[in-house]
């Protein structure tokens, strides 16, 4: 993973988020407090604006800076979760690099573990983990099996989408939607939607 690619991904994600404003925003109005879109937009714009200061840094430092910036700009529940993901990602990238696909999968898995322990949550609780955990599992498995390129990326996109959709029928036990009990059923989790969108955008970028 090159700094160049990360920075391209940052710009692409920023555009993708802006393009999905009304969808994301309405999800958090339905089962949250309506600010999720604004939160991630604030973070995503702040990172996009760091382009120049990041351009000459190695990937692990870029990821670390992204994590810290998310931590101080996003706020809400998603801020520390996304920050934890990037900080753990950065640490693993620094330790073992990203030469091989299993290296990359391991770094992703470390990020997801950090999110799990920060949020004290797991799969099935109607959160962004319902996207992150299955994607991480698929990534690890496929990398071990040697699947790569379009096959890998398309499968990760498919898993992310399935995970995002799976939150629709769940009752939430973590996050704001937990206050709604049964009433959250039928609505997709906003954080899950954002993560799916980010994963899709990054995979699409890698596909080209």
């Amino acid at each position: 993973m090159k700094t160049e690619f990360i920075l391209q991904a940052v710009q692409a994600v920023n555009h993708a988020i802006l393009a999905h404003e009304s969808e994301i925003e309405s999800l958090d109005r339905e089962i949250g407090d309506g600010d999720h879109f604004i939160n991630i937009k604030r973070g995503s714009r702040a990172i996009a604006e760091m382009r120049d200061e990041l351009a000459d840094l190695p990937p692990d430092m870029v990821l670390q800076r992204i994590g810290m910036k998310l931590l101080s700009t996003v706020g809400g529940a998603s801020g520390p979760l996304l920050a934890s993901f990037f900080l753990a990602l950065a640490k693993t990238v620094k330790e073992r690099g990203t030469a091989t696909l299993p290296d990359k999968a391991a770094a992703f898995a470390a990020g997801v573990e950090a999110v799990k322990s920060r949020g004290k949550a797991d799969i099935g609780e109607k959160t962004l983990l319902d996207v992150l955990i299955p994607v991480s599992q698929a990534f690890t498995r496929l990398a071990a099996e040697g699947v790569e390129g379009a096959a890998l990326l398309n499968e990760l996109k498919r898993v992310a989408e399935a995970g995002m959709l799976s939150t629709r029928d769940m009752i939430a036990t973590k996050g704001r939607a937990a206050f709604l009990g049964e009433r959250a059923v039928g609505h997709i989790d906003p954080g899950a939607k954002t993560c799916q969108l980010v994963i899709q955008t990054v995979c699409d970028l890698a596909l080209h």
Binding site: I38, V74, G181
Partner: protein
């Protein structure tokens, strides 16, 4: 959406600037990272720091001052503040006795304060406020929300801290007040988050939402509008069911407006709730009625009951001098 704003992105900064200017005798505003602090730092006391999303004014900034908070960290509207704010506030106000964070129990607030606590170079403790009985508690969930009871926790812990009590004692008192405090709210309208520009939820002209939080999260059930006495009966029942006070107990009753409901109606709710509490054999020895933990422009109100004892009453009564709560000096 009609609001007094210039640009949505500047609302928070301009409002904070106005707050700090209007109360320059009591508070000082630090920008980037944002926090409000007492203008005079007190030595040799636990620094009591709270914070949370904006839009709940006067919570928390309005409670910075003698006998209450040392600093407050305002997040964006309905969005918890970020750890750099808590770190900077703690850095500025720590006075040799450690830091006590008072945090409303929301995933976002909890995680942001936690990350700050992990990075903090001082001894610190956190009191999680979780007074909202509208939310069912269970071991599998993140637990109840913190709502208007937060004011009571901040007041009583703030009073104890002023006496020079140590961190453990402040933490213990905060937890005890939280256990003895229960709240529930009802909304007649949604609020409108300025950056979103339209109501968070839609309520019909004859509907109300029972058990709302303070962020425009929908409540647990929607009902046809009913007489105030019937609404209050449900709120009081849920609160007392949780607190299970013995007959003859002494309580503090807080009727809190969400921002869009006039005082005239809040006092009517007080009248209704007080009658019910008396009928249960409870004595209301302290009262507070007004907008203390709001939800932007939402019309609605919450009731909070805190079971007093001699110590808690003393901490409630002790002098306090903040922009939004003042007595005894």
């Amino acid at each position: 959406m009609k609001k007094f704003i210039n640009a949505v992105d500047d609302l928070l900064a301009e409002s904070l600037a106005g707050f700090a200017a209007a109360h320059s005798d009591l508070v000082r505003l630090h920008l980037d990272p944002n926090y409000l602090r007492r203008s005079q730092k007190t030595q040799d006391k636990v620094a009591v720091i709270s914070g949370g999303g904006s839009g709940h004014e006067p919570l928390h900034g309005g409670f910075v001052g003698y006998g209450m908070l040392d600093a407050a960290c305002p997040g964006q509207v309905f969005t918890s503040p970020t750890p750099d704010q808590m770190l900077a506030a703690a850095e500025a106000m720590e006075a040799g006795r450690g830091v006590l964070f008072i945090v409303k129990n929301y995933a976002g607030d909890v995680m942001n304060f936690q990350m700050a606590a992990e990075l903090l170079p001082f001894p610190n403790e956190t009191v999680l406020v979780s007074d909202d009985v509208a939310v069912e508690n269970s071991t599998h969930t993140a637990g109840r929300r913190g709502v208007a009871g937060t004011v009571i926790v901040e007041r009583m812990v703030g009073s104890l801290a002023e006496t020079g009590a140590d961190l453990a004692a402040c933490k213990a008192l905060g937890d005890r007040v939280n256990r003895r405090t229960a709240s529930m709210g009802v909304a007649l309208t949604s609020c409108t988050v300025p950056a979103v520009g339209r109501p968070t939820f839609d309520l019909g002209e004859n509907e109300l939402e029972m058990g709302v939080g303070i962020h425009g999260e929908p409540g647990r059930r929607r009902e046809p509008v009913r007489p105030a006495d019937a609404i209050v009966a449900d709120l009081v029942a849920a609160i007392l069911d949780d607190l299970k006070p013995a007959r003859g107990s002494e309580v503090l009753l807080l009727v809190n407006g969400f921002g869009g409901t006039p005082l005239m109606e809040l006092y009517l709710l007080y009248n209704s709730a007080a009658r019910l509490l008396h009928r249960q054999g409870l004595t209301i020895s302290r009262s507070l009625v007004g907008n203390y933990t709001t939800s932007l422009d939402m019309a609605g109100a919450s009731l909070t009951v805190c079971l007093l004892d001699e110590e808690l009453r003393r901490h409630w009564d002790a002098p306090v001098h903040t922009p939004a709560l003042r007595w005894g000096r």
